[in-house]
């Protein structure tokens, strides 16, 4: 009934994991609900901190999808530019890849046996 999955070198059980997460989670919530004495509601402490700049409206500050992970894609530009250029969308290239890979694997299987 425990749902144990035996891998070659250990086991994994989802039900034991859920029970442990619930136990630890309830301890964390109990400690969090004890509260903090120096917090006063509806004062300066509630507003977000943007280094003193005025806060824009919430609709304007939603980050759209092309700008997320800008740092990651900018850092790997040397890898991404040739890769995106290879996906041309031209069907002659698609069949070119098929023929080349079939030839390579045919030679490999034929030689190594």
């Amino acid at each position: 009934m425990l749902g144990l999955l035996e891998t070659g070198s250990g086991f994994w059980s989802a039900i034991i994991w859920i029970v442990v997460v619930l136990v630890i989670g309830s301890i964390v919530i109990y400690i969090r609900n004890k509260g903090e004495d120096s917090y006063k509601k509806n004062t300066e402490q509630d507003k977000p901190f943007i280094s003193g700049n005025p806060e824009k409206s919430k609709e304007n500050s939603h980050l759209s999808a092309s700008h997320i992970y800008w740092g990651f894609t900018e850092a790997l530009k040397g890898y991404y530019n040739p890769l995106v250029k290879m996906h041309t969308g031209n069907i002659n290239d698609y069949s070119g890849w098929i023929i080349v890979i079939t030839a390579i694997i045919l030679i490999m299987v034929g030689v190594s046996g």
């Binding site: 999955l5 070659g8 994994w12 939603h62 999808a65 991404y80 890849w97 045919l106």
Partner: protein, 521 residues
Amino acid sequence: MNLSNHIPILIVAIPLLAAFLVPLIGRINKKATGILTTLALSVSLILTIALAVKILTVGPQVYVFGATSPSLTLPSGLKFPIRIMFQIDAMGIFMGLITAVVSFVGAVYSLIFMKQHSGLDKYYSLLLLLTVGVFGMEFTGDIFNFFVFLEIASIASVALISFRGIDLGEPAEAGFKYMVVSSISALVVLFAVGIFYGQYDLLNFAALANVIKYSQLDKIALGILVPVLAMKAGAVPMHMWTPDAYSEAPAPISMILVAASQASLYALFRVTFSLYNITLNTLAVGWIIIIFGLLSMFIGVTMAIIQKDIKRLMAYHAISQTGYMFLGVGVGLAVLANPVALKQYGITAMEGGIFHIMNHAMYKGLLFLTAGALFFKTGTKDLNKMGGLAHSMKYTTIFFIIGAAAIAGLPPFNGFASKLLIYESVYRFNPLLSIIAMLVSILTLASFVKVFHSAFLGPKLPQFKEVKEVPRSMVFAMAVLSCIIIFFGLFPDLIVKNLVHPAVMSLIEQFKYTGTVLGGM
């Protein structure tokens, strides 16, 4: 007439009959087409589950076409089978279960999703034909029959991909590219069938497996079958048709196309394991499949992070998850001739890879359905224009969170169970492969966090002010898949012991495959 003997043919025949009845009924009443499709596919689902129970308790089933009794494989006086037959063992019924569930859910989802399109009777009859093609590919025991069903499935799916091509241009282009790619692959498969027939005069899988010698012509046949079937499954570097085809098809069709790609993956395993088995050079072919897997995983996920279109992103993830399956089964193939290593980690690697096939079909289907729900309500697929939809579409958000957590391999969902099996066994083969697999898993989580943030989180945008929740039949379809994901996540050992392990053993032990047909030699 004992009806339970004829279940294998009924699973294929009932959707086929419904596919030809649907245009007739469409002339009388437009709404009845969808309901007839759902009925036919639900009957198929029930029959598939009954057949699965029978196979897992009794043994592999054979169904011969045109003989006096369905299990008469060797006609009187002859030593090899000459009729077309369906041969279903544990691996075949495993894939058949996936197809039955996915096509039933797709039909339920399309009842509302496609309501404003015209020409719906053609859509439903093509959907039934696609299901028939995929079932036939997974159940057949005859190599030319496999080619016929492969062509049925690819013709039906091309017509479905370009279904919206009457108004827009892109679906037609995607359909053309898919047609060229699948025609080339099907004709190369026919060429390999010709090579086998010319050498041995046999077309049956089991009879071929009995007499095959690894001569020069067999090497040529293997050398052209492996890349072509891998290309149909979406392996890099022949993968470029996948994002176009999956993103331009309607959302339930993308889900069934995933099942069709996995069926050609099943054919690749069937050819290398049951047809050739130890006669081929397992280390070389195993490493070829492992390298396909590594390239697919890595390039798939890095291309997925920079996409702007939500369905292209999910299609690139489908490529990357297929890489996991290649990796797991490739490791199993590479150690096939080595009994000690096979028992230690080869079987576990294959169990991980094959369990991942079923998990992938479930959570990828759920993700495509949520993307379809977003497209249905907002009218756009571009992630730059969406935002703040979690306020109004609560059920879709919950299903998306379940699907994204499952694909990234977070516990306690089923993605974690199959990925753990793959990591632990591949590590003992070569540690570098396991490290790359874990890195790809982290990048998968990163890209789904990106989709979740840009589509669901954030403030409510003014142009989506009157967007409400999707209708109930679509929610029901998504809920069925989520329940299966949660159930597989909580009790993975039930599935692995009862469904996956018999499938793996039936691939490795070739004599059981031939013995069912040739009468226990």
